[in-house]
Structure formats: C-alpha cells, structure tokens
C-alpha cells in the first residue's frame, strides 16, 4: 500500500524497532516527553518525565545485509534533571524534560541542551575507548605507590578498552525564567540559543551561564489583563537574526533581533481569521498553537493547533498556504475532551528532510503524515500488534459516518489515553521515531 514520504508516493513504512518496557503498567517517570534526532540522524535522544535522557545510536550498515539500515541501540543514559523545590514560592519544580536540542557537532564529542521547567543544561557526551596504562605513581588498580619505591620512569601508553560513553554537564543555565520553559532553540550561529517560557524569551550565549538577554516580554503590567501566553519559539534555520514565537491565541510573530534589543514589536504577525461558523465554548483552546517548526529550507513554517496542522509561507501573513485536518472528527467531542483534559494536550509536528511531508500525532496511538506534493494523507498506528520486524504498516481509517466499514475504527472506540504527542523525522532519511506514552517506535521505509 502506498503512503506518503520522501517526495514519492510509493513509500511503504515498516516497523523497525520498539524501545521501552512493554508491560501495561506505565510508571509515570517513564513517560516520554521529548524526542529529537541529531543533525546527522545517527543519534536519537529521548527525554522522560523522570528527568532522564536516553540516547540511541544507529549501528553502521552491515555489509551482510545492505538492504537494512542500522538499528538504533542505547548509546548513553543519564539523569539530566532532578526534582527541585523552590523554597521562596513553595513550589515543586518538575524534573520532566520538556525539550532536547542537539548542537551541531564540532569535534569528537556530542553536545545537547536539555531543559525542564526552569533550568537548561548543556551536556557533553563523549566516548572513551582507550585508557592509559603504566602510571609511575599509581598501581594498575589505582592504589598509590610509595614514592620511594619508584626507581624508573616510563611514559604511560594508551591501550584500547571497552567503549564507554560518558555524559557530563558542562553548563547549567539557571534562574532566568519565572514561568515554565516550553521551548529552546539553537541559533544558526552555533553560539547562542533562546529559551522561552509563558511570558518571556531569553537569549543565551552557550559559554555564559550567569546572564542572559531578555528579548521578548509579553507580561502585562497588570496580570489581570493577561490574554495570551507564548507557547513555542524557534530560531530561523539560516538567518541568525530571525526567530518566531507562537501564542495561545493562534498567532505567530516573527521577530528580527537587528531591529531592537527588545523584540516586543514583531516584524511580521501571522494570523488566520477565525471561521465564525466554528465558534464554540472551546474556540480559544483549540486555536492555541502547541508547536511551531521552520522548514529545513527556511521558507516555510508549520504550526500545530489542536485539530489541524498549518503551513505558512513566511512571505504571507494573512493566512496559511496549506491546512491539514488531523482529526476533525473530534470537533464534535470537544466537551468530553475538555472534561478529561485531553483538549489541553500539546501535539508536536515535524518535517521530513526535504520538506515534502509533515507528520504529527493523534489519539489511539495514531500518527498522521501529510504529503504536500501529492496531496495525500495517511494514518498509521504505533501498536504492539504491528510490531513484527519489517512488517508493513497498514493505513488506518476512522469512520465518522453512521456506517462503519470493515477495518475502520469508530470515533467512540478511540482510546484517548493513548496519545502520540512527540514525533521526529530523521533529517536525511526515511526513518521516523514515534513516541507513545512510554515506548519509542522506530519505523523506516521499505528498501527494495
């Protein structure tokens, strides 16, 4: 069966791997909260509610099976953030990892930024596969030798050892956010990055931890006048002076840091007028943007609100150039979704490597892909039933009308506890990582 992907409509998606415990009892700490490929796609990082980061590395393609891409295996696991307590405000600070962003690789080590609600940390992940042997003052087991017993000197030599991957925190960027951090984004200058909370965006230098510049501040003088918050922010992929931030009112503002030090005045504002026919109690909630992502080309950006994905051309502010309905059948269920809090779920979205396909998650462990070139969309399910190695994913259909066809799923039987909020697409290849509650599914397109 055909499905969208990589510019061609003949892509078949196959199950590749699933990571994480497969039992029904999900520990809250194991809930995946962010997924991110690095710039080459060789490394895949996940963060969870327990503050841990797990990094998977793709094995090199084996010569025995040239048809198969390498598998992703655990490369490093470390505790990035711990729960903290703000004594001044009597508030607990969750250790949940909200976002991970990789830095472009400059040397042998890998660097990533991980953040919880209040603190951003720069982690260095480095390999050690050699160790020195032949110390003069220490025995091999580490005990110090009596200096009087040293009669000769030798130069220690490096001998190979089992690969050890070490993660060490190199910088801690703390105490700059009063509200909860929702986004971090590394600038294309590879020297600075931004962090955004509900009301403010700060600009940091990667080397400097004791101060940051505030570049956006939408906090009103009187908090009673608050009408919107910042929901996501991202730097432009090429223009180091440009960034965008989205709001809970469904608007996106593009700012140019050359214009002024404080970018409260936007250079462009992207907003689509609301359709008055769709007005409901929940209009404000479903128009809140949960994610914003630039295309790799930098020409477009994509936003995700509760029911749809929109593609915007940066040259046109009045309306998106494309709108894709993710699960329009939920529009009549908004009241129940409000009652069970699902309406507040923040879905993310992502582009494929050449910006021809976009992907986002939904409920019942469904995820959707929209092919922009062929105007096709497809729904897949990440489930254990479809977890046979290299089994081709079958497109799913949701029946919205009265008559349910065979193999269709009715809206009422959707499991709203099974949601896919985080997805990631390999930057260069047709490999996707899809996070269910506590499992990470990896799918690839079938190589013939």
């Amino acid at each position: 069966m055909a499905g969208p992907g990589g510019g061609s409509s003949d892509v078949q998606w196959c199950f590749s791997q699933v990571k994480g415990a497969m039992d029904d009892d999900v520990a809250e700490a194991d809930i995946i909260s962010t997924v991110e490929f690095n710039h080459t796609g060789e490394l895949l990082a996940t963060g969870d509610k327990g503050g841990r980061v797990v990094i998977f590395q793709q094995e090199p393609e084996s010569k025995n099976q040239p048809q198969c891409r390498g598998e992703y295996n655990v490369y490093s696991t470390f505790q990035s953030h711990e729960p903290e307590f703000d004594y001044l405000k009597s508030l607990e600070i969750e250790e949940k990892i909200n976002k991970i962003r990789w830095l472009p690789q400059k040397n042998a080590a890998q660097f990533l930024l991980s953040t919880n609600d209040k603190t951003i940390k720069l982690w260095k992940i480095s390999e050690r596969d050699k160790r020195p042997e032949g110390y003069n003052l220490k025995e091999e087991d580490g005990r110090y030798r009596d200096p009087n017993s040293v009669t000769t000197l030798r130069v220690p030599v490096l001998r190979p050892m089992d690969l050890m991957v070490e993660a060490s925190p190199r910088r801690v960027f703390a105490n700059a956010h009063t509200y909860h951090i929702n986004s971090i984004s590394v600038n294309s200058d590879h020297e600075t990055y931004l962090s955004a909370d509900d009301l403010r965006i700060n600009l940091w230098h990667l080397e400097i931890t004791d101060r940051s510049f505030n570049i956006v501040d939408i906090k009103p003088a009187n908090m009673e006048e608050l009408t919107e918050v910042i929901t996501a922010a991202e730097f432009h992929p090429d223009q180091c002076n440009t960034f965008v931030y989205s709001s809970s009112k469904g608007t996106i503002r593009l700012c140019d840091m050359r214009a002024s030090a404080l970018c409260d005045q936007h250079a462009k504002m992207f907003e689509e007028p609301e359709d008055p026919n769709n007005r409901s109690f929940f209009s404000e909630i479903i128009s809140s943007i949960s994610d914003v992502k630039f295309s790799h080309s930098g020409r477009y950006m994509m936003t995700r609100d509760y029911l749809s994905v929109k593609i915007w051309d940066l040259n046109m502010e009045t309306r998106p150039v494309e709108t894709y309905q993710v699960h329009e059948y939920l529009r009549s269920k908004l009241c129940s979704l409000y009652e069970n809090d699902c309406i507040f779920d923040k879905f993310e979205c992502c582009w494929n490597g050449n910006d021809s396909v976009v992907m986002t998650g939904s409920y019942n462990n469904f995820f959707r892909m929209f092919d922009r070139d062929y105007r096709q969309d497809v729904t897949f399910e990440a489930s254990r039933e479809n977890s046979k190695p290299r089994s081709v994913l079958k497109p799913r259909k949701i029946s919205t009308g009265g008559k349910r066809k065979k193999d269709e799923i009715s809206v009422d039987s959707l499991d709203f506890n099974k949601k896919i909020l985080h997805t990631a697409w390999h930057p260069l290849d047709n490999i996707i990582a899809v996070a269910t509650t506590n499992n990470l599914y990896i799918f690839q397109d079938k190589l013939n």
């Binding site: 109690f281 809140s288 269920k333 409000y338």
Partner: protein
C-alpha cells in the same frame, strides 16, 4: 457570542461547564510543578464563554417569563430613588474597557473604574450603604488565595455594577471588596489554609458569612464564587449585560440554584 450548540456532542450546558472549569482551576493549585499559566488561561476563556451564554439565556428567560408590568414596577421603584434618568442602559459599563480593572469595590475605587457623576444613580446607589441599606446584604468572604477577608456589599450585584469590564483573564489576584483586612494570625492561621484543603477553606467561608436581617443565600453563594476566582472575575463580565442591572434582583434569585451547586463541591 454565538455558540454553535448543534456541534456539541454531549449535553453541555453552561452550568456544568462553569463548575467544571472552576474545579479545574482549583485543582491546578495543588498540581505538581506549580500553577500552569497557559492551561488556567484557557480554562478562564471557557469559563467566560460559558458564563456569557448562561447569563444571556437566563435573562432572556426572565424576560419571557415576566409580565411587562412587573418589570415596570421594578423600574418605577428605581425612579423613586432618583427621578433623573430611568433605565439608562449605559450606566457603569460605559467606562473605557481598556482601563485596567482594579479589584475595585465601591467608594473611591469605583470612581476610578468608571466614576462619572451623570451615571444613573441606581447603579451608584447600590454601592452607597445608606441608600440601599435595607436591601444590601453584607457578606464576609475569605479569599482562599490571599487569605484576605473582604466584606462585600450585596454580593454579586455590587461587583458588577461598579467595575468596568475589561478583557481580562483572571489570575489569582486578591479578591475585590469595599474593605479589606488581612487575616491576622489570631483569627485564622494562614498556614493551615492550604489551598489543597478545600474543605477547610470552604468551611471557613461558610462560617464567616454573616448577614443582615435577611441574608440572601444567593448573594452569599455568588460571592463565594467570586472569592474562589479572585478579582479578575469581575473583568469577565460582559459589557452587554446592562439589562441585567435592571432585573438583577429577580436574576439573583434564579441564579441561586446553580451557585449553590458549585458551593456544594
């Protein structure tokens, strides 16, 4: 605000949405990680939308039910107080919407919110203790957030007629009142006033409700609503709700049913 009620799958009525929203706001205080500003802002929008619809429907219903003479009887009663301007629909809601709503009671503060002398005295008089004293109910209310005890005149009505509407999303700002006094430690210990201990707070709320000779349970229940929500609630009031000023007495009586339901949580 037009609501496409046909699109509502479940039998949603504004009443249940209001209670649901208030419960969400309240439970968010005890959630791990602190109050989520974004979520509470969105909930407040639902609350505003539901309340607008509820009030509109309620007053439409009242108008339909009432005889015209009954309305006129109320209005002529108003006119006796000041023969100048009967039934001026502008009234206190004329204040510039952009003015920040201070959690204003009456007296000096209300003048800042929209104080202009030519206002129909009906709206002013409810705030003046001496004029309406036989109808004003004093309710003492404890704000669960700030532990500030406020004395509210005539409950709900007092808030609405004196505060200019502003497109404000409420934060947990201190409750509004004509007079405020900080709870002293002898009276009640703020430490015990855990936001999560809703029951205790509610009990204290009820214990401190005093009343005049005829304490209207509806007015006190509605002021509970305000105290839970904070002063920003007054900013949610629609500026179109002018007509309700006239029929507020009748409206309060009919609103009692759903406010009691909320207090019952």
């Amino acid at each position: 605000m037009e609501v496409d009620r046909g699109a509502m799958e479940c039998a949603v009525d504004a009443q249940s949405l209001i209670s649901m929203s208030l419960m969400k706001i309240h439970s968010s205080r005890t959630q791990r990680g602190g109050i989520k500003l974004h979520k509470n802002l969105l909930v407040s929008y639902v609350l505003r939308n539901a309340r607008q619809l509820y009030i509109k429907e309620k007053y439409a219903e009242i108008y339909r039910m009432q005889q015209y003479e009954e309305v006129m009887a109320v209005c002529s009663g108003i006119q006796e107080l000041d023969p100048l301007e009967p039934l001026e629909p502008q009234g206190a809601e004329d204040a510039e919407p952009e003015q920040p709503v201070r959690a204003a009671g009456c007296g000096e503060e209300s003048r800042a919110a929209g104080g202009r002398e030519p206002e129909p005295p009906y709206y002013r008089s409810c705030c003046m203790e001496d004029q309406f004293s036989q109808n004003c109910n004093k309710t003492t209310v404890l704000d669960l957030d700030t532990h500030v005890v406020t004395t509210v005149e005539n409950g709900f009505l007092h808030q609405d007629c004196c505060c200019a509407a502003a497109a404000a999303a409420p934060q947990c700002a201190p409750g509004a009142a004509a007079r405020k006094r900080k709870v002293d430690s002898a009276g009640c210990s703020p430490d015990a006033e855990e936001p999560s201990d809703y029951t205790a707070g509610r009990k204290r709320l009820k214990r401190e409700e005093c009343s005049g000779a005829d304490c209207s349970p509806d007015a006190s229940n509605i002021s509970n609503l305000i105290s839970i929500f904070g002063s920003g609630f007054s900013g949610l009031l629609s500026r179109q709700a002018d007509l309700e000023q006239v029929c507020s007495k009748q409206a309060l009586a009919s609103l009692g049913a759903w406010t009691r339901a909320i207090v019952a949580f």
